[in-house]
């Protein structure tokens, strides 16, 4: 069982990349999603979006597309574009995550692609830094503090 840990300063760095991408691409929203469907960061007009469902479905979509690419002996399909009447979705694979850009008539696919390229590079660097983080550099984990009785209490009726 593997665990991804995100600390506040790392979250802030990722949020900033999402925010700049959303602003520079004139996008409605940007989501960063774990490959297993966990929402990791968001920026823009997300108040009326069900980001949990969107994240899970996007990860399912990416996983299915990845399996198709393997059947075609292709390493992966690095990006996807879904074109709607008013809303469009651009999906890019980065290191351990998925970057989703939701945009409308205020932007264009060309602009989104251009801005995503730069943001993906920044995000990849950020993930690399997180991977290189040494566990001893951080304080005690919350997992060390959790006792068996804490877990039992969670399930008491």
């Amino acid at each position: 069982m593997s665990t991804q840990v995100m600390f506040p300063e790392e979250q802030e760095a990722i949020n900033n990349i999402c925010f700049r991408l959303q602003r520079d691409a004139n996008a409605r929203a940007v989501l960063l999603i774990g490959r297993d469907g966990q929402p990791m960061a968001e920026a823009g007009e997300v108040a009326e979006l069900d980001t949990t469902s969107l994240s899970s479905l996007t990860a399912g979509n990416v996983a299915a597309t990845g399996a198709i690419s393997q059947l075609l002996s292709e390493k992966e399909f690095g990006s996807q574009f879904h074109e709607g009447e008013r809303a469009h979705v651009h999906i890019t694979l980065i290191a351990k995550a998925i970057m989703l850009v939701l945009f409308d008539e205020r932007s264009s696919l060309g602009l989104v692609r251009l801005r995503v390229r730069k943001a993906a590079e920044e995000m990849n660097r950020q993930f690399e830094a997180m991977n290189n983080r040494k566990p001893e550099d951080r304080g005690p984990s919350v997992l060390d503090e959790i006792s068996d009785s804490d877990i039992d209490n969670l399930f008491n009726d």
């Binding site: 069982m1 665990t3 600390f7 802030e12 774990g34 469907g37 804490d150 877990i151 969670l154």
Partner: protein
């Protein structure tokens, strides 16, 4: 893969309900969805065929409360049980933290149970997991049906390693939350041990 976020103070985990077709995996999630407080759940999504057979997965996000100031969030998934959807089942197991095997107690579904359990074992191995080392519980569903096999027989065939097991009738809700609690608790205990 569990995800611990110190910024939003959340612990996120992924549970997968696995088992033979028409065994009651979706029914488990539907019952949990119906009986959970609106504050503690998100929208339930079912990617199903026109005949309501699971095509890709069902998804239900659930909050189970706080531990040491961290919200515990569980993402519940089901897999499509029909044999020919194997490629989809493999995808859904990616990043899994805990598994519920929903067995169909009906005597005529015994072969299907054995086949699905073997399929689970193989698909987990392909992703580098070992069922023996993963938080894992078994639910014997449809205990209310007259053609349900004796419990001892199910145990012998499906639970040789004696993992936690629960009798259930998911349609009426019997055993559904006991199963969920057991696997969620096992995931958190394993997370603590690994952390």
């Amino acid at each position: 893969m569990s995800f611990i976020n110190y910024s939003s103070r959340e612990i996120n985990c992924k549970l997968v309900y696995y088992g033979p077709g028409l065994g009651g995996k979706t029914t488990n999630l539907q019952y949990i969805y119906q009986k959970t407080n609106p504050d503690a759940k998100g929208k339930m999504i079912s990617l199903a065929t026109e005949t309501e057979r699971t095509l890709f997965f069902d998804f239900l996000p659930l909050s189970l409360g706080e531990i040491r100031g961290f919200k515990t969030r569980f993402h519940l998934y089901t897999v499509p049980g029909q044999v020919f959807y194997d490629a989809s089942r493999k995808l859904i197991l990616k990043g899994v933290d805990g598994v519920v095997f929903v067995a169909d107690s009906q005597i005529e579904r015994m072969e299907a149970n054995i086949e699905a359990l073997e399929n689970l074992r193989i698909n987990l191995q392909e992703q580098g997991y070992n069922l023996e080392k993963l938080p894992y519980v078994i639910q014997y569903n449809k205990r209310d049906l007259p053609n349900a096999a004796p419990l001892a027989e199910l145990r012998e065939l499906l639970n040789p390693t004696n993992v936690p097991e629960f009798e259930a009738a998911a349609v009426s809700g019997q055993g559904v939350f006991d199963t969920l609690k057991a696997v969620a608790k096992s995931v958190l205990t394993e997370l603590k041990r690994g952390g």
